[in-house]
Symmetry: C2
Subunit: 421 residues, 2 copies
């Protein structure tokens, strides 16, 4: 069956304003000279000390700003995020750690808070020392330009080869208060020359403890940023951090319950929207693909299969070529390391049932006939669209998950091969 998969948006409404929609947040973005001319330094500040939480790259090779931000987040408190693009400050040894700490100290100084309250992020070239004097001056300029309408500027300043800024915000109600959650991010795809990947910054005026904020963040990242794949490469610099300053005045969320669930729903809308924006802006991408696995025994099984199929080069090239190669989809599912029954499994491309119970729908027993008994023209039409859904029904349990990806194109190869320094 093809389940309806309505995004559980609940009472949350989209709104403009990004990370500066929630009360008490200001942001700015400036050019400080890491890149030639485009903005390369962003600052996001809460007027009130915020509860804070983060999730970080699982790569063993972690950039200096990742290490410093992990350290600063131990307190669960933060007042500001400072991020640069154009230089990842990764594989830079002790120099890199020193520079990341200088970034935090500089921001703390101009904002009048402690260095431990400043979270640091970088993205860009790996292996090159930060031009730290430029960065320090950039922080001072950015601080003087902080604005309650500065979200787009900040979103611009964290981009590397992204084609578009990625910004979203929602409003809702918790505990009879109007609350809002905003987010900006930059794209995945470790890009030339040695660019580092995904940064996401979330702000909210909801009152919540950092323990519950971390719990909500981990859950929503698992269902969003962790379910997208552009090329399977994870970076040295990935991080998603969230700050909650409590200015909405709701009763503090300090345990699971209906308020926490409502906050999670809103957060999921923000992170899922940002994650999809990243895929749509994937390197060389011409198509957005949702791989949905249903009928799985567990959510973990469904996620694992969805991600394996979504990261198959063969599936992604077939989608680029609008080739309804259901055999590749089933074969990719089969190598996911999950136990399932291929002989029960159905595969849909769009609404077209291409494989039923592990064989081509309409399988020709006689042999010499055509390979595909299914509606091949219909499947090709579905694949010719820019927004494609592949559904895999394992017909076993009742768990489901989706992964999002893009097609693999000539331009992906071109972007990633043609760097000359």
């Amino acid at each position: 069956m093809l389940e309806s998969k309505h995004e559980a948006q609940g009472n949350w409404q989209s709104a403009p304003g990004g990370v500066t929609l929630p009360r008490g947040f200001k942001a700015s973005g400036v050019h400080c000279g890491i890149k030639k001319s485009r903005p390369d330094l962003a600052l996001i500040v809460s007027e009130k000390q915020a509860q804070a939480a983060g999730v970080f790259t699982s790569n063993l090779v972690k950039a200096a700003p990742v290490l410093v931000t992990m350290e600063h987040l131990k307190s669960g408190l933060a007042g500001a995020i400072v991020a640069n693009s154009g230089n990842a400050n990764a594989c830079t040894g002790d120099t890199g750690l020193r520079d990341a700490r200088i970034m935090a100290a500089e921001a703390a100084c101009v904002l009048g808070i402690s260095p431990q309250e400043v979270l640091v992020a970088s993205t860009g070239v790996i292996g090159k020392a930060l031009p730290i004097d430029n960065v320090s001056e950039g922080i001072r300029i950015a601080a003087s330009g902080l604005s309650p309408k500065g979200s787009s500027e900040a979103a611009q300043a964290i981009l590397t080869t992204d084609r578009t800024t990625k910004e979203v915000a929602v409003t809702g109600r918790i505990c009879d208060r109007n609350v809002s959650i905003g987010g900006i991010c930059k794209g995945s795809g470790m890009i030339h020359p040695n660019m580092a990947t995904m940064l996401g910054f979330i702000t909210t005026d909801v009152a919540i403890t950092h323990v519950m904020l971390k719990k909500a963040l981990v859950q929503s990242v698992d269902e969003s940023f962790n379910m997208i794949t552009v090329d399977g490469d994870t970076s040295t610099n990935d991080m998603v951090i969230a700050m909650a300053n409590g200015l909405a005045g709701n009763t503090v969320i300090d345990e699971e319950g209906s308020d926490f669930q409502e906050f999670c729903r809103g957060l999921r809308v923000v992170t899922a929207s940002l994650a999809k924006m990243i895929v749509k802006d994937g390197e060389g991408a011409t198509k957005f693909v949702e791989v949905r696995v249903v009928g799985a025994d567990t959510v973990d099984d469904a996620r694992c299969i969805a991600k394996t199929v979504a990261s198959s080069n063969l599936v992604k090239t077939a989608i680029f070529g609008a080739d309804p190669n259901w055999g590749r989809i089933l074969a990719a599912a089969g190598r996911a390391g999950v136990d399932f029954r291929p002989d029960l499994t159905d595969v849909y491309i769009g609404d077209v049932l291409v494989a039923r119970s592990g064989k081509a729908n309409g399988f020709d027993e006689a042999g010499a006939g055509k390979a595909n008994g299914f509606d091949e023209a219909g499947a090709r039409n579905a694949l010719a669209k820019t927004d494609i859904e592949i559904t895999i029904d394992l017909k076993s349990g009742s768990s489901a998950a989706s992964a999002w990806t893009c097609d693999l194109t000539y331009d992906y190869v071109k972007i990633n091969a043609s760097y000359t320094s």
Copy 2:
């Protein structure tokens, strides 16, 4: 350090003859009508019942011939291999199982052996029933054309979109007898339309029990076919099978010891040569790449990192573009799931030390300078060659392993996207 990594070829000498070099083996290849005009059916026969062993795809979705051959190999005995190309007989349900059994029965009938002694393999389109009448007739024609010089014909008949046949043989001495080992295979890369992957067939006149043959085969496949990657996709049809008919007259190898070790060395030469041929003929490949990990704590750690780096799209596109992106190499190593010290790790491209102790060799502390202090021109020169070696030295233990891959090119995307039925 850059270790010398001389292939431990021992007393084994290359020789022509492929799978029909070992005494008592004949082979043939014919066209039976699965493909339009190229050979599509191969037969390999031992005049004496042979000890036999196989390794098979780990994909949960296994083609009918894989299931039937696994069943037939339970006895450890075989007399013949019959293989077709052009149709994988995968995702074909009960019809497929019936057809795979008919192939075995037909070959058994014309050869005067039992159907259980026939091993079956298929490669080609997924999801289409075999034209079994053509196949049966092909088997009869192939049997009448069996020749002690038929290896190349058989090697030709198992190809799909491979550009070259893949054939190798070696001679050596075991227990004061002249012995030989031969092999043929077809390429990896699950290719349009839904082609299935790697087949390898090994013959030898060495006398060895099927238990020890299986042990030797598993070891040598782990170091060869399991260390190559073209696109990370494993197939429904992969198999490597070996037959040992004992006609060399050596004392039967039935335990570990110097004879077994000698046989393993010879087998490794055959499987490593075939594996490298597959990579060199990878879809769209213009370059052959060896990723060598040294200084690891365990061989498993070394293999895991080597394979992760070798399968990174970003590393493979950088190699296509001759871009000395050592950051991508280190970042790929970091996501292998192996615990190592990035801050100790050296990376070489060819003979050029590009990263020392996790930083660019010659890292510029001052920052604003150049990203790479290493010999960038030298690294580019190394990457401009068609045969490239990347070495990652973890500087911890004394274990090493190599993985082999090719570059990721426009043509890979083209081959895999542009199929129209």
